[in-house]
């Protein structure tokens, strides 16, 4: 007899009195398990069920389920699981037989899903729901019943949270809990795995705060949540949970509104929005959720990168007053509206800088850069204010943002007025002032006055200021005069600016301080400021002593005439000074009323102050008397910014010292410490106290070296090198820097000395080597980064290809017979003339026959980082979502990529050019150059002409780095040599540089650019003579491009927007050869 049969027989009598199916289940179970279990285990299993029968009156039901479950237990389950199951069954049966029935019924399938290890946990979860009453029992039973379905969707840990949720709900309503449980497998199944736990966490909080919403949450929550970008869903739910935790009855409402709102915002922007909300949450969870809920509305007005500013303003309010802050984020405070309006209306320099740069260039005809004013202050060359507009001669500095109006166009107009004023200083030559040049409108006083300075003044304007005993007053008056002239000139030349400028002047007038409260000399100056703002009507002056004021006004107004020059402004300043110094700087004690000025007959005023220069001995300009109140400068005028002609002239002089001929020339060596110290001490704008705190010697040195750097000359500390005599032939080569020296071939070239108008024979040694090899990643990475541009470039160059095939006619052999010559041939034969046999044609691949040498500047100056130009967003304002996604992509790119340097763009452009050249099949060579001194012009081969493009080329591009100086001439000559060796009919040489040729001994001293430029130009000329087309491409935004003037009639182009270089270069090549 089998073990099963024996067991069945042995226990048969115990089934007496139980319904028939129980025994049937028992026997079927035994039979089914006989083969799976050892006799002992089978017996144990049997005992487990028999024990259940004995627990209570209805426990036989659970026993029956036990017997039915046995055969369905997964094969893989270890014996312990059998025992565990029996144990759980026993304990559950003791609690409630129906509970045990449900448990046992779904245990086998659930086990298969959760694995044996989680059996106990599952049993416990159900047990937690059971509170001893029948409702809880049925909920728990439902929980067990749902096992197979539930665990097909979720994991045990999630089931734990679900139980928590159900448990919480059950406290309020078993029906609700049951309903949620019923839908749980389907609801949770629809969620991403990672979202389930947080979904339930919020559910738990919701069940606590407003349990009635739970059904809604289960019904609609998933769909709502799916509007939130997946990676931030959990963070969103946690924020929502915070509101619920606050016992808010409206937690679900917040959740729903927030999710719906995010649905309207571009997914990529959800991260930033949530992050900002999280910062608010510690102060107020409601504010955080309202912030999210209102984000689409807010983003309709401001860009996503302005959102932090809006949030920060509200956070400030929130921190101070919870109510105030919450109203702000509910969009129910006028302050919030105001901030929004301001943000949406403001104009950022970063976005309009490029347009203003070209605008200023058009106005002035000079290469001008635009930067934020803070940049100028950082330079440490005498400007200290970080916000005020100014110019130092080559760059216009403007405020970073303009937000004075509630309208964007008005703000832009304001920015434009600022820019125009600075550009006008350049266009109308404020800084070209010359001491000796006669003025146009006045009788010149300058030559009649004694010059007071001891040291030779560094600049013309310095010489002028030296005439005055009171430098501060003189500087103020000169500024007023010059600005009056400039504004008038702008109004005359630019009718379109008149309106906005006039408006700005009126706004400034409205801001002026009360003049009658000022000491008289200051009141005099203040009145002049008003006149300069076109506000002669706003002049107020004691009625009894109108004379000097009327004179001042008339002098100033003369400067508004057409043709007024910087010298006129200076002459005016002299006269104004004379008038001002005669007025004691004391409050007016007389009883006179402060009135507008009466009409004056200009004739009656002695505007030329002939008495000053007149017949008598030359009259000195007076000094302020002792004992009066100290003079204070007038309140600043925003749109005019800072005007520092003495510093600008100094910088300009340093910049092009070499071009001015010897008389007025200052080289840094010649600019004495003394001159500088004097300049520093006298310059009214420099904070002397701050300077004196430090060691003046040191400060002066720093100032000087900053200035020199600004002027485009290297810092002083590398001075020692420049002192090497030209004839010193020693080079750094024997210092053993390169242990594994690659093959170096040396070539000698002449150099052009423009002073001698002759070549210096064999002056430069060009050392040619193959560039070291690095990795291929850079090359591949660039192709990836510019994938679309690459394919575009390829396509364009493919298009050029068909032209390569030309029909060649009249051949003696070819593809086919050509009709015309064939007829001729027949006629010739018939008429007895000896015929020509060339009657065939053939399509021939005509070689394009182009060779290009591409010369890369690898000098140290290419190490300069490119201030990333804020990419512009084209679809301005239309669709905040589109904008958001654009912004986020941009942000990502910025985070991923460190700022680029000029050299990086050179490299990238090279990669793209190679793509183009390989497509079209032109012969090309790519070379880099740098070096130090004439004996050591390094010429690196990246790809030689005859060499095939390959992995080595890619690896070499990787190693293109900024090295040392830039001696362009010899490098160009060597490239010419290479090009001449090719057979090509069309030969092109492209020089890609930052336009600053510079090397040790490449000119009389380091500041001299002329020698280098002449030689470079000469080398380019030589190329032309060789029948090579030279083309210089200069990467320059800062206006340091010295080559420009010299190369204007050659192929020459400035790439102002450096980042477009990779795009421009292939395009340029196409234009050159198409």
């Amino acid at each position: 007899m089998s073990v099963a049969a024996e067991l069945a027989a042995r226990n048969r009598e115990r089934f007496e009195g139980f319904p028939e199916p129980l025994l049937e289940a028992y026997e079927a179970g035994l039979r089914a398990l006989e083969a799976r279990l050892t006799p002992t285990r089978l017996e144990n299993w049997s005992r487990g069920g028999l024990d259940l029968m004995a627990v209570s009156l209805r426990s036989w039901e659970s026993a029956a389920e036990y017997f039915r479950a046995g055969p369905r237990i997964p094969e893989a389950a270890p014996w312990e699981t059998w025992e565990q199951l029996a144990g759980e069954a026993a304990s559950l049966t003791e609690q409630s037989a129906p509970l045990a029935v449900s448990f046992l019924r779904s245990a086998p399938e659930t086990l298969a899903l959760v694995g044996p290890n989680h059996l106990a946990q599952w049993a416990d979860l159900g047990r937690r729901l059971y509170k001893g009453n029948w409702k809880s029992s049925s909920l728990a039973a439902q929980f067990y019943d749902a096992g197979p379905e539930l665990f097909a969707a979720i994991r045990m840990s999630q089931a734990g949270r679900l139980t928590l949720f159900l448990d919480e709900l059950a406290r309020h309503s078993y029906e609700l809990a049951a309903a949620c449980l019923a839908s749980a497998p389907e609801v949770l199944g629809r969620l991403d795995g990672a979202d389930r736990a947080p979904f339930l966490t919020f559910g738990v909080e919701l069940a606590q705060s407003s349990w009635a919403d739970s059904r809604l949450y289960f019904d609609r929550g998933v769909a709502l949540l799916q509007r939130v970008h997946a990676p931030v869903r959990e963070r969103y739910l946690l924020l929502a949970a915070r509101v619920a935790r606050d016992h808010s009855r409206s937690a679900f409402q917040y959740f729903e509104d927030g999710a719906a709102a995010l649905g309207e915002v571009e997914p990529d922007a959800h991260g930033p929005v949530i992050e900002l909300a999280e910062q608010l949450a510690p102060h107020s969870a409601y504010a955080a959720m309202d912030f999210i809920g209102n984000s689409p509305a807010v983003l309709e007005k401001v860009r996503i990168d302005e959102l932090p500013a809006w949030q920060a303003a509200g956070l400030g309010i929130l921190a101070a007053s919870r109510e105030g802050g919450e109203a702000y984020f509910r969009l129910q405070s006028s302050r919030g509206e105001e901030v929004l309006d301001t943000l949406s209306a403001r104009v950022e320099l970063a976005r309009v800088g490029e347009v203003l740069r070209l605008y200023a260039k058009a106005l002035t005809g000079r290469d001008i850069s635009i930067h934020a004013a803070a940049v100028l202050a950082e330079k440490g060359i005498g400007w200290v204010d970080e916000e005020r507009a100014s110019t130092e001669g080559t760059t216009i500095f403007l405020p970073e943002v303009m937000e004075r109006h509630r309208d964007k166009d008005e703000n832009f107009a304001a920015m434009k007025v600022f820019a125009t004023h600075q550009a006008a200083h350049l266009e109308f030559e404020s800084f070209a002032f010359s001491f000796e040049r006669p003025s146009a409108l006045f009788e010149d006083l300058r030559p009649t006055l004694p010059e007071r300075g001891e040291a030779r003044p560094a600049t013309e304007i310095e010489r002028f200021f030296d005439l005055f005993p009171d430098r501060a007053l003189a500087s103020d008056l000169h500024e007023i005069a010059e600005d009056a002239r400039i504004d008038a000139a702008i109004k005359r030349a630019y009718a379109g600016i008149r309106g906005p400028l006039g408006r700005m002047q009126r706004e400034e007038l409205a801001r002026r301080p009360e003049v009658s409260e000022l000491p008289l000399r200051q009141a005099f100056v203040e009145n002049l400021v008003r006149v300069s703002l076109d506000g002669a009507g706003a002049v107020r002056w004691p009625a009894g002593r109108a004379e000097p004021m009327a004179g001042g006004v008339a002098i100033l107004q003369r400067l508004t005439a057409a043709g007024a020059t910087a010298e006129d402004a200076a002459e005016a300043a002299l006269r104004l000074y004379r008038l001002a110094i005669g007025i004691r700087n004391e409050r007016d004690e007389s009883e006179d009323d402060w009135d507008a000025l009466p009409e004056f007959d200009e004739q009656s005023l002695d505007l030329d102050l002939s008495g000053l220069g007149g017949d008598g001995p030359p009259m000195e300009l007076g000094e302020a008397p002792e004992g009066e109140s100290e003079y204070e400068s007038p309140q600043e005028i925003d749109f005019r910014g800072e005007f520092k002609p003495e510093l600008v002239q100094l910088l300009m002089k340093l910049r092009d010292g070499a071009e001015q001929g010897d008389a007025g020339r200052i080289s840094p060596e010649q600019l004495t410490e003394e001159q500088l110290r004097e300049l520093l001490e006298k310059s009214a704008e420099i904070d002397l106290d701050a300077l004196l705190e430090g060691d003046l010697q040191q400060t002066t040195g720093m100032f000087l070296s900053n200035l020199l750097k600004e002027a485009g000359t290297p810092a002083l500390d590398s001075d020692a090198q420049s002192d090497q005599p030209l004839s010193d032939l020693s080079t750094g080569a024997d210092e053993g820097e390169e242990p594994l020296a690659p093959v170096v071939t040396t070539y000698y070239y002449d150099e052009w000395d423009f002073r001698a108008q002759d070549y210096k024979p064999r002056w430069c040694a060009v050392k040619e080597t193959a560039l070291e090899e690095g990795g291929e990643e850079f090359y591949e990475e660039t192709l990836r980064e510019y994938a679309s541009l690459v394919s575009q470039t390829r396509k364009q160059f493919e298009l050029m290809k068909p032209e390569l095939f030309r029909k060649i006619k009249r051949l003696s052999d070819g593809e086919d017979v050509e009709l015309d010559p064939a007829i001729e041939w027949m006629i010739d034969i018939r008429t007895g003339v000896s015929p020509t046999e060339k009657i065939y044609w053939r399509r021939n691949k005509v070689e394009r026959d182009v060779a290009i040498a591409f010369l890369l500047d690898m000098s140290a100056s290419t190490d300069e980082e490119i201030a990333r130009r804020d990419q512009q967003y084209d679809d301005a304002g239309d669709d905040p979502r589109k904008y958001l996604s654009w912004w986020v992509t941009k942000r990502r790119q910025e985070l991923a990529a460190p700022p680029k340097r000029i050299i990086d763009l050179e490299k990238e452009a090279t990669v793209l050019l190679i793509t183009a050249l390989e497509t079209i099949g032109d012969d090309y060579g790519i070379y880099g150059f740098s070096g130090y001194g004439r004996d050591n012009v390094e010429f690196y081969v990246i790809k030689d002409f005859e060499e095939r493009f390959g992995e080595a080329t890619k690896r070499r591009i990787d190693k293109v780095t900024p090295i040392r100086s830039t001696r362009m001439g010899p490098a160009i000559r060597h490239a010419i040599h290479k090009l001449s060796a090719t057979e090509a009919k069309v030969r092109i040489l492209v020089l890609l540089s930052d336009g600053r040729p510079q090397d040790h001994g490449y000119g009389r001293d380091r500041t001299e650019k002329e020698y280098a430029i002449h030689d470079t130009r000469q080398a380019l000329n030589e190329a032309r003579r060789e029948g090579i087309t030279p083309f210089a491409l200069t990467v320059d935004r800062a206006g340091h491009d010295y080559l420009k003037t010299m190369c204007e009639d050659m192929g020459y182009e400035v790439v102002g927007d450096i980042e477009s270089l990779p795009r421009r270069l292939p395009a340029l090549y196409r234009r050159l050869t198409e």
Partner: protein
């Protein structure tokens, strides 16, 4: 399609001399030295030749390649050649045409100019096929001969014949550069943009607007030309400024006129457009 036009300039064309170009041209004409006119588009080269031919009482033959659009301003209409790279030697010299009676030889414009002693103006000569230069060479040295290969003839230029070519050295393809052997057969007269006052005078004369407006337009031209290297292949031409003037004369607001005739006509680069737009709004109210 070939645009060739022959006529005698009967009415004196308006031309404002900018330098000594008139004297130079006259001298060259007397000496039968071919002339190359170099300069940016729309700066008056064509007008100058017309004027000179009037002054010298010579019929002119103009052969124009591209460049001039259908809206060309001038005393006589120009016809535009669309496929400008296809101008061949036979287009200039002549060809056999088929008609009902068989083939018939038709003189090309150059041949006619040579025979009649006209001033022949080849506009934008670099655009033409290389084989045309072969014709130019014998015509421009002391021989003054035009070989007509297909007829097996050589025509000697009539006395008044003068070859004038124009060339815009702006952005040129290296492939199309004027060959030295060609170039060195001509004296080179360089045209640049007129000064602000001169340009204003031209604008006023050609468009009829007030001098005050013309000065502003000329100022605009000057400012915009400062942006030459920034994606504008060339600065704005006098021709465009005249267009703007003519629109203003017809009652279009100056800002709008400048926008369509200058800003948008010059570039598609949005940044540059915007910058020019700002210059326009600064200059015009």
């Amino acid at each position: 399609m070939l645009a060739a036009e022959e006529f005698t300039v009967r009415e004196e064309p308006y031309y404002l001399p900018l330098g000594d170009e008139i004297e130079l041209f006259e001298a060259a004409f007397r000496q039968r030295i071919p002339v190359l006119l170099k300069g940016p588009t729309g700066c008056g080269k064509t007008r100058f030749v017309e004027y000179m031919s009037y002054r010298l009482g010579q019929p002119v033959t103009r052969i124009s390649q591209g460049g001039d659009g259908p809206g060309e301003a001038g005393p006589r209409p120009f016809v535009t050649v669309a496929c400008h790279e296809d101008l061949t030697a036979s287009d200039l010299v002549g060809r056999y045409l088929l008609d009902t009676d068989g083939t018939r030889w038709i003189d090309g414009p150059l041949t006619r100019a040579v025979k009649h002693g006209a001033i022949c103006y080849l506009d934008e000569v670099v655009e033409a096929r290389k084989d045309t230069t072969v014709l130019i060479h014998p015509l421009t040295d002391y021989r003054r001969l035009l070989p007509i290969e297909k007829l097996g003839q050589v025509v000697e230029a009539a006395d008044g014949f003068l070859l004038v070519i124009s060339y815009n050295p702006g952005y040129q393809s290296a492939l199309k550069d004027l060959k030295h052997s060609t170039r060195q057969r001509f004296i080179s007269v360089e045209f640049t943009y007129p000064s602000r006052e001169q340009e204003a005078e031209i604008i006023t004369h050609e468009s009829g607007v007030d001098m005050a407006v013309s000065i502003e337009l000329a100022k605009l031209g000057e400012k915009v030309r400062n942006l030459k290297e920034h994606g504008l292949g060339e600065g704005v031409s006098t021709r465009l400024l005249i267009y703007a003037g003519r629109l203003i004369e017809r009652g279009i607001a100056p800002r709008r006129a400048a926008q369509v005739a200058v800003t948008w006509a010059l570039t598609d680069d949005l940044d540059v457009q915007r910058s020019i737009e700002e210059v326009v709004t600064s200059i015009f109210e």
